[in-house]
Symmetry: C2
Amino acid sequence: MNIGFIGFGNVSKKLAGLMDENAILTSKEGRSENTVRNIDESKATVLDSFEEVARKSDILISAASPGESVKIAEKYGKLTKGIYLDLNNISPKTAIEISDKVNNFADAAIIGGINRDFTLFLAGENSKSLKFLDKYFPVKIVSNNIGDASRLKMLRSIYTKSISAVLMEVMEVAESLNLKDELMDTIAISEGENFKDSAISRIKNTKNSSKRKKEELAEILEYFPNENLEMVEAALKKLSDI
Amino acid sequence: MNIGFIGFGNVSKKLAGLMDENAILTSKEGRSENTVRNIDESKATVLDSFEEVARKSDILISAASPGESVKIAEKYGKLTKGIYLDLNNISPKTAIEISDKVNNFADAAIIGGINRDFTLFLAGENSKSLKFLDKYFPVKIVSNNIGDASRLKMLRSIYTKSISAVLMEVMEVAESLNLKDELMDTIAISEGENFKDSAISRIKNTKNSSKRKKEELAEILEYFPNENLEMVEAALKKLSDI
């Protein structure tokens, strides 16, 4: 089976490595130095153009950047007769838009860290024929509705970002009372030993990428205008305080 | 050693049972039918009055109800030469108030469920002489500052109540998208197998006692007027929507 990649960043590199008993196709056409290095380190067959990659692929994976996803679908996605997967962390709205442009779209989202534990969530009619990928990594089919994989990722993001905001808030108060370690210990009683490390890494992570996380929270509020998202709104305010 | 109890509800019953190699003292003076049954089921020595309990105790534990804590301290706490513990879930302010009324106050808070895993947190100079109680159940000394045990409990309450509000919010959206089970599964990837049961029980618990939890959140906001508690404020709003 031919599995083509448009874009060869961390996600593509990892997935290509896990699936390399298949023929991995990609191209260096217009790619950055980093990407070319990733390709050289992989077992990918390098074709002259992404057009050729698209035409030869049984599965075509777009993993470049969210901003390019629609353009890539228009330019290459419509050329493939295979199944088209978009792993650009797109919104449910964009997933539906792209599914109209390509032949066999499967809605997809990677949940978890690509270099730790991740699961590939799939949605839509075409996802059934991708079930065999669970030989290589965990795969879950969410539903037949295009957009549900990205919706699920969005919901998970409501959870993780709001939790990080709660942690930031309570740890700040605890610090001012000189009770930070003690609080970590008392929460660990119910949340388990792992709590402390996970809390510290969540707070650090949120502070380091607060701009992007604020954008994602704003997107969530925009996507669900009719829900009472008080906690998401407060998390956005909290991140704006940083 | 004589350990006296004023009030003999669930907390006292449990602690008395765990410590009953000591002499457990209490009184039925003015107590309810339920309390009298708890006393009869325990190994407590029943004295005629709480005054007598107070005078004979090396450790005197007040565990009746938060509203009565100051009154009990004034009436009986000042009679004891032993260490006085208040387990009425009092605020840090009340802890300081009571410590002025009794001879040897130790600030105390039970964190966790009394019938599951709990730890007795202690603060203040007198807590050192209670360290031996860790023969019977987990004990942690927080600091020498009266109020820190209750402050710690309050901080933990910020965490647990805000987390419950986040769970309520995200599960409501997930339900409207028909993705509730799927969301539980995706969060469990990072939070562990236990996540689903814990989330369901937190949401149920919050809905069942939303009135009390709202009061506790309002108390927290009142106690920390100068902190930016956006998540706590949002949690209070969320609970008001129930």
